[in-house]
């Protein structure tokens, strides 16, 4: 079997035992990138030389008798919102075209420490704002299941890279669903850890109180291994949590749900949801019951207000976070010809450097924070946020996890929602509550929709620091689905 079809855990074991070299594994993935990424466009930058160099360093360590970690030598595709000192970092924006950071994000550094080989940087919606990668300044990424469809977003390059076997693992950031939604629509696993469970240092900020880095993989155990490799407290991010990383790998290996109380969120379903999505969701509910879980319906009435609250809080924070891109110290600079004032250069730079969606959100946020409107908009949204956290709290008194479809629909055609921001925003309807409350949540494949044959994702939400529960339920379902389907969902993906 081709090395690119193997799981990260398998590759790590093969490299550690010396059966294959890290260089061979890396080369196989670089070959796959060369073969298919012309059509997928998952990568903004492929760091072939650096990757091979890193791989050969791993091989040298093994040859020297050093013990290797479980993911040493395993390739990873890195979302281009994490700073990397040896590769350009653009956040999908023209305003950072060609920018090379002088420092590594904490997660970048931890990937390197764990021996993971960074293949390159993946495409995203500009500054992680979007659900389709259509907002990238560097072109749209295509869904490996249907090249005419979106791969989800904002981490669409990372989801497409893994789904098209260009990498066994990738990184993402999830602010309103930017890991789970792309995972769902490309048929892979994507995890949003508890807020503060993974460091934001070196993650180009979209909305500070919501941004959460997390892993993508084609199976639950691989996602847990990557999660464990880069998570945990970071002194450079004071919002990162001090406690131990939850036992996610153990939970992914265990994968049983007998006796577990599972709540179906009443508010997510029905009108506006694709029939095939609801059918696969129903299958999952029945499967969980057959595995011994106790499934009940739980109402979370405030979840209805999550989307509007999110579209006040996230733009407000982004309007401030993106103020630093002014052409004064780095990145694009427009109008510096001696005829313009510094203020004019800032304005010209921002006008030329930001795309339409970024400008829309900066304007929304600027308005929402304005004197006289703050209480009505930002203030009210923060209250909704509290109510959502209380809904979660009440629900987790009754059940151990909550489940819902990850997205209301399967992957939509490229261009379909590009001019309709509201339709685009609805893609994150079910994922946003977990961001607002800071909970852990995962998306795991649960089959193909009958009407379009495209993947459907199931979302499992757990309390803050209950990340292991997400993996436990996801792993149980994965096992059951695979025995039903006769293998992983992705083998069904059309060959490129």
């Amino acid at each position: 079997m081709s090395l690119t079809r193997k799981t990260a855990a398998e590759l790590g074991a093969l490299i550690a035992s010396g059966e294959v070299s890290a260089v061979e594994v890396t080369q196989a993935h670089l070959d796959r990138i060369a073969e298919v990424d012309g059509e997928i466009h998952a990568f903004l930058h492929v760091a072939a030389d650096a990757a091979l160099e890193q791989a050969s360093a791993i091989d040298a360590k093994r040859a020297a008798g050093e013990r290797l970690g479980p993911l040493a030598g395993v390739p990873v595709a890195h979302k281009d919102v994490f700073t990397t000192k040896d590769m350009p970092t653009t956040a999908g924006s023209k305003i950072l075209e060609g920018y090379r950071p002088p420092y590594d994000a904490t997660i970048t550094a931890r990937l390197r420490e764990a021996g993971l080989v960074i293949l390159g940087k993946t495409n995203l919606d500009e500054f992680a704002m979007g659900s389709s990668t259509e907002n990238s300044a560097y072109g749209t990424t295509h869904n490996p299941w249907d090249l005419g469809r979106i791969p989800g977003g904002s981490s669409g390059g990372s989801s497409a890279a893994v789904a098209s076997y260009q990498a066994p693992l990738s990184t993402g950031t999830d602010t309103g669903g930017s890991i789970r939604q792309p995972a769902a629509v490309t048929g892979i696993v994507g995890m949003k850890p508890t807020y503060g469970g993974s460091s934001r240092y070196g993650v180009i900020a979209f909305a500070s109180s919501l941004d959460t880095p997390g892993p993508f993989a084609r199976n639950v155990l691989d996602a847990a291994l990557l999660h464990e490799a880069f998570s945990g407290h970071d002194v450079m991010d004071t919002t990162s949590i001090h406690s131990e990383v939850p036992p996610v790998v153990e939970a992914a290996r265990r994968g049983d749900v007998s006796g577990l109380r599972v709540g179906v969120v009443k508010e997510f379903g029905g009108e506006g949801y694709q029939a095939g999505v609801l059918a696969r969701f129903q299958d999952s509910v029945e499967l969980l019951e057959s595995l011994g879980a106790k499934v009940v319906e739980v109402s979370c009435p405030s979840f209805t207000y999550a989307l509007p609250a999110y579209y006040l809080i996230a733009p407000s924070e982004c309007s401030s976070n993106l103020a630093r891109f002014d052409g004064m110290r780095y990145g694009l600079r427009v109008g510096d010809d001696g005829t313009h004032s510094a203020e004019e250069v800032m304005a010209l730079t921002r006008a030329a450097g930001f795309g339409a969606e970024v400008k829309r959100r900066i304007m929304l946020g600027t308005y929402a924070l304005s004197s006289g409107y703050y209480d009505a908009y930002y203030g009210s949204a923060q209250k909704v946020r509290t109510l959502i956290a209380r809904d979660f709290e009440a629900a987790f008194h009754q059940v151990d996890v909550l489940i819902s479809p990850t997205t209301p629909t399967t992957a939509f055609p490229i261009g379909e929602r590009a001019d309709d921001p509201m339709a685009m925003y609805l893609a994150d309807l079910c994922t946003i509550p977990a961001n607002l409350a800071g909970n852990a949540a995962i998306s795991v494949p649960c089959g193909l929709a009958d009407e379009d044959g495209l993947p459907v994702g199931l979302q499992i939400m757990a309390p803050v620091l209950g990340d292991d529960r997400c993996y436990r339920v996801a792993a149980a379902l994965e096992k059951a689905f695979e025995s039903r389907w006769g293998g992983p969902l992705l083998k069904e993906a059309p060959a490129l």
Binding site: P101, A207, V235, T239, L369
Partner: protein, 502 residues
């Protein structure tokens, strides 16, 4: 007209209007590292060498709050008799300016760390209580320099350069409530407040509070209301007030300026004004009527500050003696009159005298040198007393040399002159200039012989019992020895030689 240059004489202005003043003071904390990163805070480094991804606001960088700065702010709040918040947050103040890397300043808005305090100051023998509205913690901006223009202001400049070394240095903002009822003492009250605040900061050891280096900066708010009315007038905020004397002048000048406008039926514009050190005048800056909307919101990158009551009490118990209390205690210990205390205070000599006493000098001597010779020299060279290149330890050495008889006052003054001129330590100056008192009895004897021969008349008078005449002979000895003789010993030897005893 908003920029009228006419002023109303101070006495007339005060006869017609009553001033209300307010002060906003920024104190740069003397922490080793910046507010939100590990960069050093020391002054005077080459431009843009104390910078990192955090204080340059590179993409992805995050702030980490400096615990020492939070502690210092709480100590300042406690020393100003404030209530310390049990829970409060940083807030982002959003506005675009090239010297502010993030284009927002991390500050505090509606949840300051310290609120509702006061500071008592003494003016003209009476105690004035200045109420403190709030004390909060924020970060400093970088420093812009505007090149090519005539004024150094941004208007008319060809280009600007920015030094980010200062960006992110912890800054404490101390805001008074409006101060009413100071009447014609308003300028003195303003100056006394900043002086007292500066001394308080020094006693806490939280800042070097050097106004000329910008580590203590003051904005002065002034408004006037016609006598007999109670509604406050529109206020202006004067910035760039960089010395204690300027604080006083700025209030004085602004009262005269506003009074002239109001008397003509004009209207005061709510604006920022710039103080000009050379002329004492202010010119208009940004108008606050087109006020910026700073779009404050709680800083999501930082955790709330939640000092435990136990910690706050511990900090309170460790506060140093307040400067006013300390001054009163030392006044008693030194046996100094109120007038002399006030003179020392006004000359900004108190701390120097105290340090000199600590270095082992009797209080009277310490005061004598600082308020006499050294004050004179500072005055001549136009420098602040504290900026004279001499240390309390060096003065202590000079005083010790006088006490041991190695120097007399005249020689001591020459030693101080040498130290101030950069000739080295007191001992080095004594050595290099050959200033030691002539204590070799042989040499002194031969000088006395010469003097007695040359002044036979005076010698006879002394012999005949007119002991007072010995002064002229001693003077002759001092002259002949170019001041290096020990006058007391010379007197003894002369009397002995002339066979007279007292």
């Amino acid at each position: 007209m908003t920029t009228t240059n006419t002023v109303m004489p101070y006495d007339e202005a005060l006869a017609r209007f009553e001033p209300v003043i307010g002060l906003e003071t920024h104190v740069e904390l003397g922490t080793a590292s910046k507010m939100f990163c590990g960069c050093p805070t020391s002054f005077g480094a080459p431009p843009n060498t104390h910078v990192c991804p955090v204080c340059l606001a590179l993409p992805g960088a995050l702030p980490v709050a400096n615990d020492k700065a939070i502690e210092s702010t709480i100590r300042i709040g406690l020393a100003l008799n404030c209530t310390i918040a049990e829970w409060c947050r940083f807030a982002r103040k959003n506005y675009f300016y090239p010297d502010m890397p993030k284009n927002y300043q991390i500050s505090q808005y509606d949840e300051p760390l310290c609120t509702n305090g006061y500071l008592d100051v003494e003016v003209d023998g009476r105690t004035v209580r200045i109420e403190i509205e709030r004390v909060h913690l924020e970060e400093d901006t970088g420093k812009s320099t505007h090149m090519g223009g005539a004024t150094g202001r941004i208007q008319g400049a060809d280009y600007s350069i920015v030094d980010y070394n200062r960006a992110g240095i912890p800054l404490v903002e101390i805001v008074t409530k409006p101060v009413e009822g100071t009447d014609r003492l308003a300028p003195e009250v303003a100056k006394a407040y900043v002086t007292e605040l500066r001394e308080l900061m020094r006693s806490l050891g939280v800042s070097d509070v050097r106004m000329e280096e910008g580590s203590l900066r003051c904005d002065v708010n002034v408004s006037l209301m016609p006598r007999g009315t109670t509604a406050w007038g529109t206020r202006t905020e004067t910035k760039n007030v960089n010395s204690l004397r300027s604080v006083e002048r700025a209030v004085h000048g602004e009262i005269e300026r506003q009074a002239a406008i109001l008397a003509e039926g004009g209207r005061i514009i709510q604006e920022t004004r710039h103080f000009h050190e050379d002329t004492g005048a202010t010119t208009p800056g940004r108008s606050k009527e087109e006020a910026q909307d700073y779009r404050y919101f709680p800083e999501p990158d930082l955790l709330p500050i939640a000092p435990t009551p136990e910690w706050v009490e511990e900090l309170r118990s460790e506060l140093p003696e307040p400067p006013t209390v300390r001054r009163r205690r030392l006044q008693a210990e030194w046996g100094v009159s109120d007038l002399d205390m006030a003179a020392m205070h006004n000359a900004d000599a108190f701390t120097l005298v105290e340090a000199t006493v600590t270095a082992g000098v009797p209080a009277a001597d310490a005061r004598k040198w600082w308020m006499g010779e050294l004050a004179r020299r500072a005055n001549e060279s136009g420098t602040a007393l504290a900026d004279l290149p001499i240390t309390p330890e060096q003065i202590a050495r000079v005083v010790a040399l006088v006490a041991s008889g190695a120097l007399n006052d005249k020689l001591a003054r020459q030693v101080l002159e040498g130290v101030l001129a950069g000739e080295g330590s007191p001992d080095e100056v004594v050595e290099a200039r050959g200033l030691r008192i002539v204590s070799d009895e042989g040499e002194l004897s031969s000088i006395i012989d010469q003097v007695l021969t040359a002044n036979a008349d005076a010698a006879d008078k002394v012999r005949s019992g007119k002991i007072a005449a010995v002064g002229a002979l001693v003077g002759g000895v001092m002259k002949a020895s170019r001041g290096k003789a020990d006058a007391g010993r010379a007197r003894e030897l002369i009397l002995e030689r002339l066979g007279v005893s007292e």
